[in-house]
């Protein structure tokens, strides 16, 4: 059965400067919003290796580097790109409405 996705307003576009990320809480989900060239992507906020906060890491192109042990993930797909991370990050759908960022999480 398809899961219902519920969208919540979490931030404005102005809150996320290009090439940076911020963390938002959406219910029980901890989400990192990254701005890549004006497009917003949403992925799980904590590194799948040792739970460091990814928004404290460096954005390198369309990848984010974990600030703790330097694992890298694709911001667009959540894929773990190098060790020590082996598990991919969850990704979340994003909508933009009148300059407001909405993130979808399962109901």
């Amino acid at each position: 059965m398809a899961t219902n996705i519920v969208y919540s307003r979490v931030a404005s576009l102005a809150d996320v400067a290009p090439g940076t990320g911020i963390k938002v809480d959406v219910g029980d989900h901890y989400v990192a919003l990254f701005n890549l060239g004006g497009t917003i992507y949403a992925v799980e906020a904590y590194c799948s290796h040792a739970l460091a906060l990814l928004t404290e890491g460096r954005v390198l192109g369309d990848e984010v580097e974990c600030p703790l042990h330097s694992a890298r993930f694709s911001i667009k797909t959540g894929k773990a790109l190098c060790e020590p991370a082996t598990e991919n990050l969850r990704t979340y759908p994003v909508r933009i409405e009148d300059g407001t960022i909405l993130v979808g999480v399962p109901e």
């Binding site: 904590y46 290796h49 040792a50 739970l51 460091a52 906060l53 703790l68 042990h69 020590p84």
Partner: protein
């Protein structure tokens, strides 16, 4: 004088109005302080904060007690835990201040711990022999809560907190401290011995002199009645007052409404509840403030105060305006107490000072001093005093 010979305290052990006060050396002796450290500070429950400091999973704060930095953190299972704030690799302090995290990481070499203190990641240890990660989780301390207060105990075989506080609920349950919100905290440092501050919190007869500019009139003008409640075998005593108005704001200033649930002793007036060894709760008709006086040396205390209000008082249109009256009063009175405790330190540390006597209104001081001596001498938690004094 042998400070660890029970005979030294024979005069203290007499009934209140026949007893003598503690010798000055009990406040100034490094050896006595070391015995307090080993027999009291590291063996009793210490109030370290409030549960609403850390409401969400991953919320933490760091506090320092007796030279030890501690982490208090709420786990993903919503349970509160306390850990020694030192990495098990080579001892680096990991967290500072307060914040939120999903794991505790050491900034030196990247060891990481789960929020329950167990190891999540070690680094560069592949060749280390016989390293069982399960044995290298964070060192934990006993932690328990009571009415929204967080207590920790360095003694792994201590009595349960509920036993330590036995009998206190009768005087406190109708306030619902656990539902109050801590609106702020503040620290002070005073140049005094911790027992001096405890003693000043245990009697009300200093009000007319020390607090003449603030709350001193409660004795003369309002004819306040004070009564000491002896909490034995629990580890508390209470300075009860009888009053129709809150003492948490100055005369003429508006306060919040009375807490509607107050029953029994709580309904009669403010109660100053002294929980041995370090914590006072100022439980008034409209609010509660707490202070924990942490020794940082023989002649130095850190005074941590928190201010707590029932939620209905914080939802008024005029909350901000009225709150200013409380925040004006609290530091004035605390600083008045601080100043007098420094003067008493100056006097008691005079090498020629001699023990004195207790006034009838100083039963709380006498109870506290006997509690301390019991533990310094290594007696059981139940106070052993002469039958004539009971």
């Amino acid at each position: 004088m042998d400070l660890f010979d029970p005979k030294t305290y024979a005069a203290l052990r007499r009934p209140l109005l026949e007893a003598e006060t503690l010798p000055g050396e009990c406040y100034t002796s490094p050896e006595f302080y070391q015995r307090e450290m080993s027999n009291i500070f590291l063996k009793t429950w210490v109030c370290i904060g409030r549960e609403d400091f850390v409401p969400k999973a991953g919320d933490y704060f760091v506090e320092k007690l007796f030279g030890a930095s501690l982490i208090v953190i709420r786990g993903r299972d919503k349970k509160l835990r306390a850990f020694v704030n030192a990495c098990r690799h080579r001892g680096t302090q990991m967290l500072y201040g307060k914040g939120n995290c999903m794991s505790i990481a050491c900034p030196y070499h990247g060891w990481v711990y789960n929020l329950d203190g167990s190891i999540l990641v070690t680094t560069f240890m592949e060749q280390t022999k016989s390293l069982n990660p399960k044995e290298y989780g964070l060192v934990d301390l006993k932690l328990d809560t009571w009415m929204g207060f967080i207590f920790v105990n360095f003694d792994p075989v201590c009595e349960p907190l509920k036993d330590f506080l036995a009998g206190l609920d009768h005087y406190t349950e109708s306030y619902h401290f656990e539902e109050m919100k801590t609106v702020g905290t503040r620290d002070w440092h005073f140049r005094t011995n911790w027992k001096i501050y405890a003693e000043s919190s245990s009697e009300g007869i200093h009000l007319p002199m020390v607090h003449k500019k603030t709350i001193g009139h409660v004795m003369s003008r309002e004819k306040a009645k004070f009564e000491i409640v002896d909490g034995r075998p629990g580890n508390f005593h209470i300075l009860r007052t009888y009053s129709e108005r809150s003492r948490a704001v100055l005369d003429g200033d508006q306060g919040f409404d009375r807490i509607p649930t107050l029953r029994g002793p709580a309904a009669d007036g403010a109660q100053y509840i002294y929980i041995n060894p370090f914590t006072t709760l100022g439980a008034d008709l409209d609010c509660m403030w707490y202070k924990t006086v942490v020794p940082e040396g023989i002649d130095k205390v850190r005074h941590i105060t928190g201010f707590c209000f029932p939620k209905f008082s914080l939802e008024r249109l005029d909350t901000e305006a009225i709150m200013k009256n409380y925040m004006k009063r609290f530091p004035l009175v605390i600083e008045e107490d601080g100043v007098i405790t420094e003067k008493q330190w100056d006097g008691l540390s005079n090498p020629h000072a001699k023990p004195g006597r207790f006034a009838a209104g100083e039963l709380g001081v006498w109870l506290f001093d006997n509690w301390v001596v019991d533990r310094v001498l290594g007696k059981s938690p139940v106070m052993q005093i002469s039958k004539a004094a009971a």
